[in-house]
Symmetry: C2
Subunit: 264 residues, 2 copies
């Protein structure tokens, strides 16, 4: 289970403030905490700084790379921003994200190919939300065709079938879960990834819903997730669900998480 | 999601003591608490009282039926015990359980047919543990053939694919999860049921594993479970997983559980 750690995101108030005030130590603490909590990639996002995104993201990246050995996930839809920060990367990054939108295919795909990065590909339709399983799987197929056609190895592709708020459509999460199952069966070698926060939007006890959705998604085959690994209950659920799904040989991962006080 | 409430079981020390001392109030409190917590059936078990099982079970049943409107789940492998208590039933019970064992087929099946009860059917092999998905599904097919052949309606049959401890075989829960998915797809109209306690045997933080397994099983299609509905975190997970699996129209069940303080 690949964990992409989501906390360094300018849409969070404390992060935006740290970026604005140049509070390097705060950003570095977030990077260290997520590294220690078991992240595999540290996501970095300065998306709310319109017009200054590249500059702010460079500053974040420099700060983060000083304190972690982990590769980064460059979280921007803007090819010029991605291109501007790529030369700074100490390790091969994950680009978060591409979609079938022509500007992103034309702008981002060449960067993925040239730098041989990993990439998150959003199952996002051009003109409407892809809310059904069929629409999500069809988009996954088109994305894979585009990406592998350009030479991106399957193993570098993380398909995100996207999940929408249950509060507006109580069947939407199920469509995403089924899409994960079908994608993992139909396109062996490719990966699936998902964020969790949308699913619980507008409902009470959101973290419980997020945990339940992560567990269900892993059961359907999800093999990476954009989460906060410092969320103790979420991390414990991730470990336990991985265990019950037969993906933890000799229960060794679960038991070491328990010994480290990460599971209760 | 049908909830069979498991607390009144003589293998629990406090219950055995209440039975031994004739503490009717204790048993009744357990029945009331589970009724209030959202049970659909109250399981009753006096299995550890060898030689006195029928007598003790009658006493339990009389006590429980005074304080709950719910039907009971008669938890015994012994046809003579089941036959002895059936006349006491105020509502059509669930018989827990039958298997392909000849004595149980010959002894219990006629009671199920005659009394038109619901029945839990264990996917238990005669001579060895059925640990693979294929073995579990094959046993489910044979049980269904026997039961429907004798006239039991599909809707009254709860197939239990059984789950064994992860600590002895880390793939065993996955075999059960896959069996649930296949059984629900292959035999439409039948139900699946499972207990949770075996899965975590010998591992730390057992309740977390039980919750994770319940969530995974519901995701695979499980539509009833033998659980403790007064376990707050387990109940909350059940509600949240039901929600993310698209089985809670308008999120109404989840929101009322939240309002009742059952979800946090």
């Amino acid at each position: 289970m690949l964990i992409i750690a989501e906390r360094i995101n300018a849409s969070r108030k404390q992060i935006a403030q740290a970026i604005s005030t140049g509070d390097r130590a705060f950003i570095q603490e977030e990077a260290k905490a997520q590294t220690q909590a078991g992240a595999h990639y540290i996501d970095v996002n300065a998306g709310t700084f319109v017009g200054e995104e590249a500059e702010k993201l460079k500053w974040i990246i420099e700060a983060v790379q000083e304190v972690t050995h982990l590769p980064l996930s460059i979280d921007s839809p803007d090819p010029t921003v991605i291109q501007a920060v790529l030369p700074l990367m100490k390790k091969t990054p994950l680009i978060n994200s591409i979609s079938l939108e022509p500007s992103r295919i034309e702008g981002i795909l060449p960067l993925v190919v040239e730098r041989r990065t990993k990439v998150i590909a959003l199952c996002q339709a051009e003109h409407h939300l892809a809310e059904t399983t069929e629409a999500k799987v069809a988009l996954a197929g088109r994305l894979l065709e585009k990406l592998t056609g350009a030479g991106v190895p399957l193993d570098d592709i993380y398909l995100d079938p996207l999940v929408y708020p249950l509060s507006t459509n109580p069947k939407s999460a199920k469509a995403t879960l089924d899409a994960i199952g079908i994608i993992m069966g139909k396109f062996p070698g490719a990966h699936t990834v998902c964020g969790l926060t949308n699913v619980s939007y507008g409902l009470p006890a959101r973290k419980l819903i997020n945990r339940a959705f992560l567990g269900a998604a892993i059961t359907m085959g999800l093999d990476s997730a954009i989460i906060d690994p410092t969320d103790k209950q979420l991390y414990a659920m991730l470990k336990a669900v991985t265990l019950v799904n037969g993906k933890d040989d000799f229960c060794v991962d679960y038991i070491s998480a328990f010994r480290a006080g990460r599971v209760e």
